[in-house]
Amino acid sequence: MRKLKIENLKAKDKLFLSGVIYTARDQAHERLAEAIKKHKKLPIDLKDRIIYYCGPTKTPKGKIIGSCGPTTSSRMDGFTPLLLKKGVMGIIGKGSRSKEVIAAIKKNKAVYFLAYAGCGALLSKYVVKAKPVAYRDLGPEAIYELEVKNFPLIVGIDCRGEDIYGTKR
């Protein structure tokens, strides 16, 4: 993942990601933000991590993971600047982001990716390992560590703050 040269990525670029990513959606974000604000130890190190807004279905027998597409990113907008400040380098989701998030991505030299929306079955084929690593009580909203191979992505917002939806808003 270190090889991922964020500064070389431009909004609208298509790429295939191989490496480790961490799922987190609404409830996990709330808990992470709460822990950061109270200076508690976080269950995962956020430095240089990629967060995937995803709550997979249960894993069918014989499969690595169930359906695992992205969820709507804008619900996480309120938490994102804080997580980027804590070192998160990339985010995967679907849909547009707020001005504040775009500014925070630019400031922290991070990147926002779009994954094929509503294609959870297809995307499961690019996951080679999956295990819950934190907040297991949250079920589908737990933090899962996913190892992905050639996971298809589109750059939504690059580290210069260029937004794929920008020209249309």
Binding site: K58, P60, S67, T72, L114, G118, C119, A121, L122, I164
Partner: protein, 277 residues
């Protein structure tokens, strides 16, 4: 009176939950394929291709089409000459639980909307309707919340022009923008009361995306679809001419003092399955 057992209802609901979540509706798939064929923009074509591929993988490998396996909505039409042996609501909810468990679908339902907490599989939102005859019709509609969150209702003045209604419906789609998994299927309810308009907007999504209801509404549906597809939102909001696959409108008589209009949007993964017992 014809007696239908709760066991039969439970088993049918379980099977319909699996079918709806794993097998994309044929009419939706057909529209997606037509959109793929006519789309010129490269990125839009690429995404539509992925959506069609996704449906194939889901069906073949028995995986959920989307990880958001929805709030299970169940529409029940009970013939007035039917006697149910037992508690029908309990049977439906048990069926939902069995089906969702069997297909490894997601725990997306929290039992208290304010306290939130641990998620589970039930209950479903159940709509009962009493009809003529001695049959029972069950339709399972798992509604994803990315698109459900974009629902809109407006109480128009009775003198409002049709153009104002159209503008409101188009604005609702614009407002959903790239966030709720376009291309959309737009459900619209016109008339009735506030609650009934929203109900019709949802029910409109159960109608085939290729079918027509009446001459008046089908003209309006065609006009709206054309205008919505000029918005250039496109698949995943990245542009192109496929912002919506269909607009389905349901109407009902209303009061002289009002004109309720509701919009209930579906993502491209419009899932439902029905059975007649």
């Amino acid at each position: 009176m014809r007696t239908i057992s709760v066991q039969k209802i439970k088993n049918t609901v379980a099977q319909l939950c699996i079918q709806a979540n794993l097998v994309l509706r044929n009419d939706v798939l057909k529209q997606l394929k037509a959109a793929y064929a006519s789309e010129k923009k490269r990125i839009a074509k690429d995404i539509l291709g992925a959506i069609i591929k996704n449906a194939g993988i889901a069906r073949r490998e028995k995986l959920a089409i989307c990880q958001d396996t929805g709030m299970p909505c169940v529409f029940v039409e009970i013939g007035q000459d039917v006697k149910i042996s037992g508690d029908i609501k309990q049977a439906i909810n048990q069926g939902v639980e069995i089906g969702y468990k069997k297909a490894y679908l997601r725990n997306s339902i929290i039992s208290d909307p304010l306290k939130r907490g641990k998620s589970g599989l039930k209950p479903a939102v159940i709509h009962f309707d009493l009809v003529k005859g001695s049959k029972l019709k069950l339709t399972v509609f798992p509604k994803g919340f990315g698109c459900e969150n974009k629902t809109q209702l407006k109480m128009f003045k009775p003198t409002a022009r049709i153009e104002e209604l159209k503008q409101f419906i188009i604005e609702a789609v614009k407002n959903a923008g790239p966030d709720a998994c376009p291309p959309y299927i737009v459900g619209v309810g016109i008339g009735g009361t506030a609650d009934y308009a929203v109900f019709m907007a949802k029910k409109a999504l159960l109608r085939k995306v290729t079918s027509q209801k009446s001459q008046v509404t089908s003209k309006l549906e065609r006009e709206l679809l054309k205008e919505i597809n000029k918005l250039n939102i496109g698949a995943m909001g990245l542009g192109g001419k496929t912002t919506a696959l269909a607009v389905n409108i349901e109407t009902y008589p209303t009061h002289i003092a009002g004109l309720p209009v509701a919009v209930n949007i579906s993502c491209h993964a419009l899932r439902s399955a029905g059975a007649l017992i």
